[in-house]
Amino acid sequence: MSKVGWLRLVVIVGAVGALEVACRAGWINHRVVIPPSEMADALVQLLISGKFNEQIARSFGLVIAAIIIAVVAGFIVGVIIHALPRVRQALDPFFATYYAVPIFIFYPVMIPIFGLSVIPILLMGVLTAIVAMIISTLNGLDRVPRVLTKVARVHRMGRISTALRLKLPAAAPHLFTGVKLAVSYGFIGVIASEFILAPAGLGRVISDAYSDFDNRSMYALMLLLVVVATLANTLLHLFDQRWAERRGAGKS
């Protein structure tokens, strides 16, 4: 690992260690924050006991479903909008403001419409993630070099094979940016909705544990979420880097 990598590890370990020491020494009240080692211990025990496994599976299942729907639908919508310049121009101001508006204020509106079920939660996850995917798709298709379409014409390729064999690979890096954004937005959309109001799920369980002063469960589940979200993002980031390197190597 590089020097910077080591330093980063030192910073992270130092921060966690400082928290541990502060909790153990009683500088931080046990009722406010429990030591990180205890969080990890509580998480392991929770997972072994299987007490919340159903809720955990439900939430992560919803997150994954929301991400997949957002990525697929966002890509399709992006392609359609890209083909219709006038619609795109009209929609541009909406895309520019979309993430400026806290969309969660519409979550309570959905509950009476769809009932207190998984549908409004899934919808919130999809809605927060899909526009990032649409915008990335539009960006990606914009940046397909002109010369590629000319190449396709020279080779008398059909529309579909042009799209699949030239445009898609050329736009792929931007599409992947969209996927990365969709993953983090999907997490936020689903978990935040569960937090506000939901019949079940990880967000609901954490908020219940908070109300019951059950700090061990609360911190254990928070740790789980933080670890899973960080892991997902790190994996995507690493994949992105590898891919960029390979592209760079292929060019030269």
Partner: protein, 247 residues
């Protein structure tokens, strides 16, 4: 001509949204989703009331302090990490992974520390806003072409002159982008905090309306927040475009 056409297209989309709302209303019934026109009429009646003004004021005060904290801390962190390369290299991935974290999960921790108080909501709002401000400020400083610094040295500018006449103007447009995103996310954080646990503010008003099944009020408040966020974003975007063009 293109401007009027674009405005026309935007109006058409608004009309489609209203029509879709009306259609959904017909389909699910008025208890689930009230019709658009009565809701807009309700909105016009709700906004001048004292109850609404009180909540809006509470949200604005919270938002103001949260924004101040986001901007202050974010700029400080960003400038430090931009100038000191090593801290930037060490800290950037940490900040990015914190940025992608669903911070709502951490709200109970904030609540345990501060209780149901204004500082708690301010902290939670700032938690959302600090990171984009810091990250974009850092990038803006890093992206200053080295030739600018060399030019400043050739001209024998003092340290302070270099910062105020070269570095700051060069980094400013991108810093403004960071401030815009910070604005947005801080607002999101403040509203989430109010929705989850608070008795004051517009977020609490929405949740209250939801529990009392007052859908008109819920939608009316959501529309007000939507308009506020969209208008603020438009102003900041406009500033950003002007700055970018100037450079």
């Amino acid at each position: 001509m293109t401007a009027t056409r674009r405005a026309f297209d935007t109006v058409i989309i608004l009309a489609i949204v209203l029509a879709a709302w009306q259609g959904l209303h017909q389909w699910v019934g008025s208890t689930a989703l009230p019709a658009p026109m009565p809701t807009l009429a309700y909105l016009a009646k709700l906004v001048p009331t004292e109850r609404f003004a009180e909540s809006a004021w509470a949200t604005l005060v919270t938002f103001f302090w949260a924004l101040l904290l986001s901007y202050g801390l974010g700029l400080l962190l960003g400038v430090w990490m931009g100038i000191h390369r090593l801290s930037g290299a060490v800290g950037e991935p940490i900040l990015i992974s914190l940025y992608t974290l669903p911070k709502v999960t951490l709200y109970p921790v904030v609540l345990l520390i501060f209780g149901l108080t204004l500082p708690g909501r301010v902290t939670f709002g700032a938690m959302h806003g600090v990171l984009p401000v810091a990250l974009l400020t850092m990038n803006s400083i890093r992206n200053i072409p080295p030739v600018y610094v060399k030019a400043a040295r050739t001209l024998h500018l003092s340290h302070r002159q270099t910062i105020s006449t070269v570095l700051f103007p060069a980094a400013f447009p991108e810093i403004v982008s960071g401030l815009r995103i910070g604005f947005t996310l801080t607002l999101l954080g403040v509203l989430l905090a109010e929705m989850f646990a608070s008795k004051a503010g517009l977020g609490a008003l929405i949740i209250n309306a939801m529990q009392l099944l007052q859908n008109q009020e819920m939608i009316a408040v959501a529309i007000v927040l939507f308009l506020f966020a969209a208008a603020a974003n438009a102003v900041l975007l406009w500033m950003e475009h002007r700055l970018h063009r100037r450079v």
